[in-house]
């Protein structure tokens, strides 16, 4: 289940399928769940991840060499959704791998294995809208992105096409850099709330307990992804999970 508006801050984290390898993905996800993460993006690795910074982009390149693919992602999703029925698994992918798979077939299959949401950063709202009836039928939530430079009218259109939650890109740029959480940020969130009651997931630049604390009370979800992947790369999935657990333990409520 996605959180509701004004629920306490939850951490969303990340797996790049095939990184560091397919066998380790499942263990890493178990670790995240054990650390208290209830929202997990399963990223299909892609050769050209234009919205990602170098951490995720490099993870994609490595994952592809390890056999990461749409099929591998669905296979893994099937397992982890079954193992962790209380966790929301979200399929994150660039459009092309899904397009090549066949969009209808992909959405059917994703819903069937227990995927709850979709994040597709290069799929604009105009192209998503015709699919909304399908998504609603399948109970598959397109989590659309709003960015600081999105004009008000377009924010409205985007949140109306969103389901489950709205992904709020915290700042200009790609994943993996730092963000400032000042008054401008609060005003930005407030402007989005004008158009939607959906919970807000803040992403891009959430890299520390301090970041989480800064977001607490302002949004419902914090996407803690690049930094987690860095931990995974440098310390291995076990230690990464421990660090995640410690960090979640330190969160203000």
């Amino acid at each position: 289940m996605f959180p509701k508006q004004n629920d306490a801050l939850q951490v969303m984290s990340h797996a790049v399928i095939g990184f560091p390898n397919l066998a380790e993905n499942e263990k890493a996800i178990d670790g995240l769940v054990a650390a208290g993460v209830n929202l997990i993006e399963l990223q299909v690795p892609f050769s050209d991840p234009v919205a990602d910074g170098h951490t995720l982009a490099n993870a994609c390149y490595d994952a592809l060499k390890q056999g990461g693919s749409v099929q591998a992602t669905l296979d893994l999703a099937e397992k982890v959704c079954a193992n962790h029925p209380d966790v929301n698994f979200i399929l994150m992918s660039y459009l092309n791998p899904l397009y090549r798979y066949g969009l209808q077939a992909l959405f059917d299959k994703a819903a069937a294995v227990g995927i709850k949401g979709l994040i597709i950063p290069d799929w604009p709202v105009e192209e998503v809208e015709p699919w909304l009836p399908t998504f609603d039928d399948l109970d598959l939530s397109p989590i659309m992105m709003v960015t600081p430079n999105t004009p008000a009218k377009r924010v409205e259109r985007i949140v109306n096409a969103s389901r489950g939650m709205v992904y709020v890109v915290s700042r200009m740029g790609v994943t993996g850099h730092e963000t400032e959480w000042g008054e401008a940020f609060e005003a930005y969130l407030k402007n989005i709330r004008v158009y939607t009651d959906l919970p807000l997931a803040v992403g891009f630049g959430v890299r520390s307990s301090d970041d989480l604390n800064a977001i607490t009370g302002k949004a419902e979800v914090a996407a803690f992804c690049s930094k987690y992947i860095e931990w995974q790369r440098h310390d291995g999935s076990d230690i990464a999970a421990e660090k995640m657990k410690t960090m979640i333990g330190e969160m203000k409520h």
Binding site: A57, L95, Y99, N149, T150
Partner: protein, 423 residues
Amino acid sequence: MIRSNNGYFGEFGGRFVPEILLPALTELEELFFELRDDPAFWQEYLTLTQEFSGRPTPLTPLRRLSEQLGGAQIWLKREDLNHSGAHKINNVLGQGLLVQRMGKKRVIAETGAGQHGLATAIMSAKLGLDATIYMGADDIERQYSNVFWMRQLGANVVGVETGSRTLKEALDEALRDWAASVETTHYVLGTACGPAPFPELVSYFQSVISQEIKQQSMTQIGKLPDEVVACVGGGSNAMGAFSAFLDDSEVKLVGIEAGGLSLEDGQHSVRLLKGTGEPGIAQGYKTLFLQNDDGQLGETHSIAAGLDYVGVSPILAHLSQTGRVTPDSSSDTEVTDAFQLLMKTEGIIPAMESAHALAGGFKRAKTMNKNQHMVINLSGRGDKDIFNIARAFPQRDWTEFLQREAERSTDQINAHLATELAG
């Protein structure tokens, strides 16, 4: 001029980018739509290309070569005579006018052969803009002379070390920069690819090529040519050479892609022929991409860095589906042969990219008759590619010169350091 249907050409085109880039694309599109039907804007553009880049470029008859091949009369559209040595400057100068109107002070660009990066660095120097150019690390080695000049012109050239370290990765990286800088930065896309409105906008500026060909053919040949041939990397010089002829069904339009070593995966950059590119959506647009079954973009190869690209203009993808454009390819060896033939018979040094159009064109011309006329778009000159071309034609005296020059250069740097330390 071809017009998109809401960013699409048939099933291809569109605008598939992270949300953060949409406002800039919309702004650009609005500005472009406002200006493109304004004859005063076109005149402003023509004057700039004339004053700065020497347009119109001539249509050169290849008398000796046509005689030797024994088929059609061949003419070269001389984009190599442009300032900076290739057609790329046309598009860049046009976008420069847009940048000035948008009031932006920084530009970024991706580049493969370095030719578009060089053109962008030139335009930026001329207009006083900051320029950052993304270029695959392997392309930097292949086309170092262009990198040298971009840096001398004051541009910041960033080598991209990810993936296959060529144009595709440079484009990804430029998009990443743009996502962070979009409010103050214009992305000078270098070919008729990418998200709308770029394919249309780049083709609009490059169409100056075919407008001139048309006029020159009427004057110099007395009629329209029977065929127009261009190489196809991203597709901008081809769209430039074809645009004005789209409605003239008697003019056959032929696009030549890089056949590379063979049509095996990873050995070529052919996307328009059967069994090569497949529809896909990446890098901001939908087109025929070289890709695997999982939708991962593929590896490419070409002897010409500027043709070594995984996607292709959505307009050309569409026009080759409708049959208006005939796609063909030339292999690396056909290309080096055509390169030498042009050089030794007509005294013109083509870019390796353009030599693809020559190879494809010469082959076709032989099968035509003497009353027919073919225009080949010579998109650029080859003397900028000296390192690259020296690699294609290995010669001991070049190798030895490089060794001596490397030594001299090392000595010079050391002397320089010594002076600085002493000073």
